[in-house]
């Protein structure tokens, strides 16, 4: 099994530690303060931050990267504020999502945000209705966005190719 190999070498933890946001993962001692601070874990059994960290540390790479759980963090940072080991849990989850996306697991809604950024420089498209309302209420016309700068940045980091991988996470 691939994950057993990963576990032996600690290769998956190392990979997470090297990803921006993932640096603190190995300080976790599984106390569960994160889970008891988590508004999502209080609401559904589909997400538990302590479990996500545990599975990652155990090297269960494929299970975690293809899981729904990593997308159910609401990024409220409650866990991160309270972690006695200073594990930056919400940021570790970003690191896991970044790795998952590189491996082709991107939920549809995230592809839509990325597409908006690429085409307009903003992730919420303007509507004709609101544009008219804005003018009616005397709001100034919007200044042009720095779309060209954004496209250059996205192409420079390879971001523009990442979101085309449409194989969806469950």
């Amino acid at each position: 099994m691939e994950h057993e190999k990963e576990e032996k070498n600690g290769a998956f933890s190392k990979k997470i530690k090297h990803q921006l946001g993932g640096e603190t993962i190995t300080a976790c001692y599984q106390c569960g303060t994160c889970a008891s601070s988590c508004p999502v874990a209080k609401t559904t059994e589909r997400f538990n931050p302590r479990e996500v960290i545990k599975q990652s540390l155990l090297g269960e790479k494929q299970e975690i990267l293809s899981s729904e759980a990593i997308w159910l963090c609401c990024s409220c940072y409650n866990c991160q504020e309270r972690c006695p080991q200073k594990v930056e849990i919400a940021d570790v989850i970003y690191a896991l999502r970044n790795i998952a996306i590189k491996e082709g697991h991107i939920p549809n809604i995230y592809s839509e945000f990325a597409a908006g950024l690429m085409s307009e420089g903003r992730i919420v498209p303007m509507s004709k209705f609101v544009e008219k309302k804005r003018a009616d209420y005397g709001l100034p016309p919007l200044k042009p966005t720095g779309l060209e700068a954004v496209r250059k940045i996205l192409s420079c980091t390879g971001f523009d190719k990442l979101w085309h991988k449409k194989e969806e996470a469950p």
């Binding site: 921006l20 508004p39 970003y94 970044n98 420089g121 804005r134 209420y137 200044k143 779309l147 700068a149």
Partner: protein, 291 residues
């Protein structure tokens, strides 16, 4: 007069012009001038950070570079934009290696992050540049009959290490700025808990269940309305009540207002000028208590 580069972001101009309108009317009355810069883009919030955090920091930094070039600090209305920009600004100021990598990315777009400017939420600007006394003295309407539930949203407060907005467990700034306008800012259960907004679009059922908790708790505490800072919290709680009616057959009629709207009402700005028709839950209960 203190001038700031206004960072509007995506959601406010596209979906919540009532927030922008009240901010553009109220803040200059307090002596805060908002300057619109060309070339600002999306702030690169959590959904983009989830795709690639380093690229997102670079996109945030591109916006900060524009403010550096204009020699202005940034002020944001949206709490999400505040988080993305303040986080990137402080990460880059404190992490030399990251700054080098991001500047290499920015050079593709002919930009360089220098780290000479601050990113402020407009509440910080009001506290810092106006002060509670002047704020109180600017009020022309009596809002003291209102009792409201403040909800700053997560990304004003956390991650506190990078945002430095207020104490993340016992915040005071927002409540003190509400009470300076006249209303009582009441206590309620789970006040600092998330609204669930960022799960909308991926797990709508979970998002709505979390939002329901906020509405139920503010209702039980007897709030006349909820005061928000973040367009996602607003959407989740205002439109959310319409969804709660269809999903749970529950009706709450809890008004939700942005702080700048409450401020505008206190400054005597005519409600008809504030595009209040963008609210799903009517504000009659609030407006009726303003003398």
């Amino acid at each position: 007069m203190t001038s700031y580069a206004l960072f509007l972001g995506c959601t406010i101009p596209a979906r919540q012009p009532h927030y922008e309108l009240s901010a553009r009317k109220a803040l200059p009355k307090l002596g805060i001038e908002l300057v619109d810069l060309e070339g600002m883009t999306c702030c690169a919030p959590p959904p983009l950070q989830s795709i690639d955090l380093e690229t997102s920091v670079a996109i945030a930094a591109q916006n900060i570079c524009l403010a550096e070039e204009a020699d202005l600090n940034i002020v944001t209305l949206c709490t999400g934009c505040f988080e993305s920009l303040a986080m990137a600004n402080n990460m880059l100021k404190e992490n030399k290696q990251l700054k080098e990598r991001v500047n290499k990315i920015l050079s593709c777009a002919g930009k360089e992050f220098k780290g000479t400017k601050e990113v402020r939420h407009y509440l910080q600007a009001i506290k810092h540049d106006v002060g509670l006394d002047r704020l109180k003295k600017s009020m022309t309407k009596d809002l003291t009959h209102l009792q409201v539930a403040s909800f700053s949203g997560c990304h004003a407060l956390r991650p506190s290490k990078l945002l430095r907005f207020d104490d993340p467990e016992r915040p005071q700034l927002f409540d003190s700025l509400i009470e300076a306008l006249g209303p009582k800012s009441i206590r309620y259960r789970n006040k600092l808990k998330c609204c669930g907004g960022l799960l909308r679009g991926y797990a709508d059922d979970v998002a709505l269940a979390i939002a329901r908790d906020k509405i139920v708790n503010t209702k039980k505490a007897g709030a006349d309305g909820i005061i928000t800072l973040c367009p996602f919290c607003f959407l989740t709680l205002d439109l959310g009540q319409v969804l709660m009616k269809s999903s749970y057959k529950e009706e709450y009629n809890m008004p939700v207002l942005h702080y700048t709207e409450l401020l505008s009402l206190g400054l005597g700005i005519d409600p008809k000028e504030l595009a209040l028709d963008f609210h799903k839950i009517r504000l009659d209960k609030i407006l009726g208590k303003i003398a």
